[in-house]
Amino acid sequence: MITAERKPLEELIEYVRPFKRILLLGCNECVTVCAAGGRKEVGLLASGLHMALLKSGSTIEIREHTLERQCDPEYVEELVPMIDGVDAIMSMACGCGVQELARRFKGKPVFPAVNTKFMGASERQGVWAERCQGCGDCLLGKTGGICPIARCAKQLMNGPCGGSTGGHCEIGDDVDCAWALIWERLKELGQEERFVEIMPAKDWRPGGGSGPRKIIREDLAE
């Protein structure tokens, strides 16, 4: 899933300060699952904004709403009846949702309330970790199911580097060395020989190196 984290309140206040009425919009997908922008976070942020503005003597009307998914036009269409009553939209969805809103409601300022962080997995309750960078050319089949692009600080194709000690990356003891993990996993699989194969340099073009990407499924596309 896509993970996100709420922006500092201070930044958000500056976005909404000029307005009288805003729509605060949650998304019931990834950002709900990572506890950044679901119904609960919408409620918390609305209260926080109210209070922070009230302190400086201003008031704002905040309409709270949460869409099933903000990155699909049909769901966004739901907002049409409520959009005229507000001066601006603040979205708690990932960047995709925010842009979808901006595309649909051209005349309304749209602000992000969260910083979209990465594609990750939940390690345990309340902890999410990066797992994928969408490089467009998945090599997990060769690396024992552990991605050196997303999980090696240097994105090495042939690791580990000299900074790997005791299974940890030199950037911090709480960061596993991806290549140490790859080695352990390959050992489990009895595929140690893979480790000594030299992988060629990564072609970054499918990962966005040649511009914004798009997927077209001809059978589905109209």
Binding site: L9, G43, L44, S47, M51, A52, K55
Partner: protein
């Protein structure tokens, strides 16, 4: 400002803190009437939203009272609640409400005296802090209905 009487909300778990509050009554211990108790089955039932909304409505102080560590009727509800309170305190920093206005306390059902003591201490602390900035701002807006005197 000497007439300031804070309004404090105490979310109390049914099994310990709420029972302790009743116990304080049985023992005729006294504590300030500023504290208003809302009963919840477990301190972990208290949602960050409830606390934030309480401050938004003008609470000067809020505390969550659960069982002693290790005694939670639901295994670990009280420690979860304590973590939630920590989290909301950080949010209060961002909003600009003193984090001292929110507290997690733990007590057993038999600790009537502790309930009264905690209620007294927290009320005293909040009195010293004065009205919350939100409460004060509400009062500036509704001078007619607000009892708090704002300079």
């Amino acid at each position: 400002m000497d007439t300031f009487e804070p309004v404090i909300v105490a979310f109390c778990c049914h099994y310990c803190a709420y029972t302790a509050a009743d116990m304080a009554g049985s023992q005729r211990l006294t504590y300030p009437s500023n504290v208003k108790i809302i009963r919840v089955p477990c301190s972990s039932k208290v949602d960050a939203l409830h606390i934030v909304k309480a401050f938004e409505m003008g609470a000067d102080g809020v505390y969550v009272a659960g069982c002693l560590e290790g005694d939670c009727h639901f295994k670990n509800g009280n420690t979860r609640a304590a973590r939630m309170v920590d989290y909301v305190q950080k949010y209060m920093d961002e909003i600009g409400i003193e984090r001292e206005r929110l507290e997690m306390v733990m007590m057993s059902a038999g600790m009537g005296y502790r309930f009264a003591q905690v209620a007294t201490e927290i009320t005293e602390k909040i009195r010293k802090l004065g009205p919350s900035s939100i409460h004060a701002a509400i009062c500036r807006q509704h001078v007619d209905t607000c009892a708090v005197v704002v300079e």
